[in-house]
């Protein structure tokens, strides 16, 4: 009887301890974010998706995703930012971060801070580069994710 009780208490304590454990890994439900982005995609067809982990650092940092496109196709880019805790600016360029003469095609800079889903439509490019500009933040800021989904028609 007592053994059972002690076992039960140990189990509860263990579960509580695990629950309070902190981690640098963001908790992002990829499936749920993709389902939400897909609803915004219509009438475009799903092409691909990329989840990017956003960890805040004491210095400004950048994460870049290369997106191959095809001439003459129409594309919709959907970015879901609901899991990030500090605003990240999304910029789309025609060339990568190393290129000197790259052109900014779109930015989320002017979108309202409360907006959690950003949409950009584009055509006439072979490839674009999505840059996530992560602001300098106290590194204890909770990490998150940005879900990017691409659709075409």
């Amino acid at each position: 009887m007592h053994k059972t009780l002690i076992g039960l208490i140990s189990f509860i304590l263990f579960t509580l301890c695990c629950g309070f454990q902190t981690s640098d890994e963001p908790v992002c439900d990829s499936k749920s974010l993709k389902e939400k982005a897909r609803k915004t995609m219509d009438p475009y067809k799903y092409d691909s998706a990329k989840m990017t982990k956003i960890a805040y650092k004491v210095k400004e940092s950048l994460k870049e995703v290369e997106v191959p496109l095809f001439l003459g196709e129409k594309y919709r880019f959907v970015f879901n930012t609901e899991t990030i805790t500090k605003p990240v600016i999304i910029n789309v360029y025609n060339k990568d971060k190393e290129a000197r003469n790259r052109k900014l095609l779109w930015t989320s800079k002017d979108d309202p801070a409360t907006l959690k889903e950003h949409i950009f439509e584009h055509t006439h490019s072979m490839k674009v580069f999505v840059d996530y500009s992560i602001p300098p933040t106290d590194s204890t800021a909770v990490p998150g994710c940005i879900l990017f989904m691409l659709g075409y028609k």
């Binding site: 304590l13 902190t22 590194s139």
Partner: protein, 298 residues
Amino acid sequence: MYLNKVASHLNSLLAAVVCLSFFSCGSSSSTDQETTSQAKDTSANSKTVVQKEEPTTFTLPSPLQIASIFKKAGLSYFPNICNQPENASKYSSGKISQALNLGIYSADLSYCALNKQGQDSKNYMKASRDLASQLGLEKVFETDNLANRFEKNLSNEDSLGGIIAEMQMQTDMILEEHEQEYISATVFAGAWIESMYIGGKVYEKGKEKNVAMRLVEQMAIAGNIVKALKASEKKDAGITAVIGNITSICDVYKDFAEIKALANTPDDIDYNKIQISKEELTKLTAKIDEIRASIVKG
């Protein structure tokens, strides 16, 4: 006696709690240490803090989009170009062979569906499902009744396209969930090779200039396939051979006169204007035929 037993159990419990507390705090304390150390470095001399640049990541397009691009370029339907659906049973061993051939069948399915070939689409759907099941992807076809919806819409090219895109999304999600993105990249490699093969075969028959242009344009993503596969080369010994195959196709392309001339500015290539000779295209399609044959033989 009884009290002694209880005391002994309580001691064990206390010890367990102490251990658990230590364990649970260990992780956060190590994080705190890292944070503090990082903060100290920054305040001591902010100029010496170098933010290590992370490499650019990338996405790969879907096989359906590639089929759709070729279709818009005038790719007409020719029966018997695709891999025979009955061959699916040959690919019973080796994940990489199964993934490559699942990609091949995905491209065949898209080619048939976009060309309103109902019965062939059904056959390729079955072949894809058989191989997908062997890779643990059976759930894809059960989600939202996708397999049944597919069969009910065989004569509707738009609906079939939507259902195939939905399957692609479900496949990506399952593979991501099980940390098997390398399977995703390998499936895409197979689909890309088959799309190039079909494009090459149709070009041989009709000499459609737009199809030729699209074949060359597709080479722009070959580098990304290689990068995606290299990122997971350690996951399966078979990936190295796939990388070798795609690289050998790239080597043929890099040897084209106009591509050589633009080697230093590959991002500035205008695929609408580029001139590729018939001999060069023949070399490219011959290399693709050779590699595709080695995959489908199982």
